[in-house]
Point group: C2
Chain length 496, copies 2
């Protein structure tokens, strides 16, 4: 936790933006609160669901709404077309909304990523209110699809500019915006666009800030510095051309399911231990300091389980968090009948696809892991003496992500969190994978900060999505404070 203590001392050294200016900004945010909520209201009313072809028009509408709001604030906007959607060539991809605000060589240039598309939603799914109307509950919750993921965090950046303008204070950093419209549907076209713009629109950026993240728990403010990688496998076992009647053929023909469950059972045990030999070899050990800090985090068991009602495999909170943050895991997802229209419940499936994935952590190497997994499965299959055919396919691979919190980008975020929320954020990891974080890091070669806005119980991909008003308003303040700190630290570093 030494980095946090270090960060907490930086504010007094920030002499470039006097604190009175910050106060004016903060005051400006509070004054404009109603306007900011109305702005979110407008955004929620556009059902920009990227997963549904019939909503694609609304996603485009949302890109134009966003661009127009940005222009109103003086942001230079370019809508970058991304072409057709790979898997549905009849569909045009929504554009990247690129923006630039400020070109002051005395300020750092921060690339801000958010997305303006949302998950599907329908009242019939069990929503309390119409998901496409912003409803403010008595407890101050702003309810509606996209409030937390990711329209609220996106609009926060525009609100921030307006609050600075209202306060008559310059925004402390140059901003480059990259707002995506396909995040909830595979981020088609994003990686290619980043590659294209790396030496153009994004050529002069100093760091990246992604605000499509939530706290580790409702009770514990946090900044994640690590994400697990993923290797996703398809295991295809074929024994026949079509499903067979188990009465007529059971015992006579080779059954793919027998091999499938055997191989799958050789991958992981009931305690969660991965059984593939050598898989743990390069896993970075957890330090005693980390262990202790994880045990101290304020995370209720409910939060730890995210409402799933799952059963924790570990004795201590630290062990549970280490299992999802610092250790690889292997999950068996499903076994699907690969023959469409396969019917009778008592049939012998002719062809099956088993799906499983491995989450990776520093310093596992995807290529090596893939070799170990393939070899293990092939050996196991050989040992069965089966007459079926086996095919192993690593269908998706995304590396883990890890940033040191020593970087000024992280230090600025830590400091800003202290200023606005009054508490030290915990430095955590995420068990999941956010491929775009790694894309930004790999392509732009800059430090990538994941700055949380919402809470894990916001229901981002579920019914009754909400963002606490507190989180919405404080995010605006947090952004301003973060840019102020970033500028100070960036300048210090430049001068050093």
């Amino acid at each position: 936790m030494s980095t946090i203590l270090l960060a907490s001392m930086t504010s007094s050294r920030n002499d470039m933006v006097p604190s009175v200016v910050v106060k004016d900004f903060l005051f400006g945010v509070d004054e404009l609160e109603n306007l900011f909520i109305e702005r979110l209201e407008e955004a929620v009313e556009i059902p920009s669901v990227s997963a549904y072809a019939e909503r694609r028009e609304d996603v485009f509408r949302m890109s134009e709404w966003t661009a127009s709001k940005m222009r109103d604030l003086g942001v230079e906007v370019t809508l970058k077309p991304l072409g057709k959607q790979e898997d549905k060539p009849e569909l045009e991809l929504p554009p990247l909304v690129l923006g630039r605000y400020g070109r002051d060589s005395e300020k750092p240039t921060v690339l801000v990523y958010c997305h303006y598309d949302v998950q599907p939603a329908a009242l019939e799914d069990g929503w309390k209110h119409d998901p496409w109307v912003l409803t403010i509950e008595e407890n101050g919750r702003l309810c509606g699809r996209g409030t937390s993921d990711d329209k609220g965090p996106l609009i926060g950046w525009l609100n921030m500019i307006e609050a600075f303008q209202k306060a008559g204070v310059e925004v402390p950093a140059n901003l480059v915006f990259c707002f995506e419209g396909m995040e909830e549907n595979g981020s088609f076209g994003l990686r290619k666009a980043l590659e294209e713009e790396a030496t153009k629109f994004f050529s002069d950026i100093d760091c990246v800030c992604i605000t499509d993240v939530v706290w580790v728990s409702d009770e514990q403010l946090s900044i994640p510095q690590g994400l697990r990688g993923i290797l996703f496998y398809l295991l295809t076992i074929t024994g026949a051309d079509q499903d067979a009647h188990s009465g007529g053929f059971g015992g006579q023909i080779s059954e793919p399911m027998t091999d499938m469950v055997n191989i799958m059972s050789s991958l992981v045990d009931s305690s969660g231990k991965i059984l593939v030999p050598g898989i743990y070899d390069n896993v970075q050990p957890v330090t005693a300091e980390e262990y202790e800090s994880y045990n101290k985090l304020n995370i209720s068991e409910d939060s730890l389980l995210g409402g799933t009602g799952g059963r924790i495999l570990h004795e201590t909170q630290a062990d549970a968090l280490i299992a999802r943050w610092k250790k690889p895991s292997l999950s068996l997802h499903r076994i699907e009948n690969a023959r469409p229209g396969a019917g009778a419940v008592t049939s012998i499936p002719a062809k099956l696809v088993g799906k499983f994935s491995i989450r990776t952590v520093p310093n596992m190497k995807a290529k090596d892991i893939n070799k170990l997994v393939q070899k293990h499965i092939e050996d196991r299959f050989k040992s069965l003496g089966s007459k079926n055919d086996l095919e192993i396919n690593c269908a998706h691979e995304s590396d883990w992500f890890y940033e040191s919190s020593d970087h000024w980008n992280y230090q600025a975020a830590i400091q800003a969190t202290q200023e606005i929320w009054g508490v030290n954020p915990a430095l955590t990891c995420e068990g999941g994978s956010i491929p775009i974080a790694l894309d930004f890091k790999e392509i732009l070669q800059k430090n990538v900060l994941l700055l949380p806005v919402g809470r894990p119980t916001d229901g981002a991909h579920s019914i009754n999505e909400k963002l606490d008003k507190n989180n919405y308003i404080n995010a605006i303040k947090l952004y301003g404070s973060y840019l102020k700190e970033a500028r100070a630290l960036w300048q210090q570093k430049r001068q050093a």
Copy 2:
């Protein structure tokens, strides 16, 4: 094969129905061929699909059509209502069409079972012709839904009566008809109706003949004397209230799929051997005579595999047939996510239902097998030290069926097959289960004959269902010959 030789000698001793009379009957069948095909045509045009609520009216229409044709021939008909359908109480079950033809104490009384409902069918499924129009192909195939399963075999009995009438010859046996309208949809209500009528409508029957059966292969005429039983299991493993994200929770919570594949992999191996201790203890050994006779059967590999393209686990034809006729088998059918609407492919399923079944043979006892299976699974689960919950449920149980071919009912069928087809039928088994065969045997306590009409490639539950004209016409003759032989043998037995 000694029983077959014995049977072939009985015809010369049949002095009750002179062979000239039989010749007139056979001639009558040929003369009425066009009428018989028109009758099948009418039946095919009624889409009596018992599985679809919206077709229930057509099933009723089919019962009335059948009753009316029977009455036209002088059969006394009763439509026995079966009440509401258990699993869909808004639906009335189609009636059992009960019929009686003849009450001569000098003749045996044969209970004939067929069904007048059919599997679903639609041109869009890939049928060459409209499934609800009888199409006669150049090769003489009668194509249409229900031609083989089971309208053709059912109408054959009515045609037989008509041919005897045409020939001016008495039908050699008293007939009791039991025609069902729910065979393709769980046979709801049948068992209860059999129990009710055992001492009433069916009180005086001497044997049962079921003609909802096909030959063992297209090349090999056969009469099955055995059917395997079935124990169908649901294995439920619960670990959480809802599916969890494998990134966020993988490694931290207990995953039901891990236990599921482990338990399933402990049930059967890739060679088809069941791994539950003690399960083979009461399996009747195969005799050297049976082994030899099975190797001699005229069954192509294609027929053996029934077009599934499966891979045979055995070296010889006899071993393959023994595996499906004389040995138990255990098939793993599927693993289903038990939480409805479960979505993301990378999720950790919270609750799973695994489905598997065991086919049983003489002299396995279902109750004992069930105990062995439950104990094996419970022991295995305990050994995993899992935090999940396990539930084992034997959802369906139906015993194996076996009749000795020494009985006059079988001997009559063997003899009739020789007379009409000119070949000795092989005495075989079926790997599948026909619960109604066992129901008739258990409830009525009479010998139950399974008399094949169609061929295994008729596509009974598939597209392009057909019945060869040869099989349709010969079935009518076979029925007549069978009744003639049955009468002779029954009388001999009575006199002895």
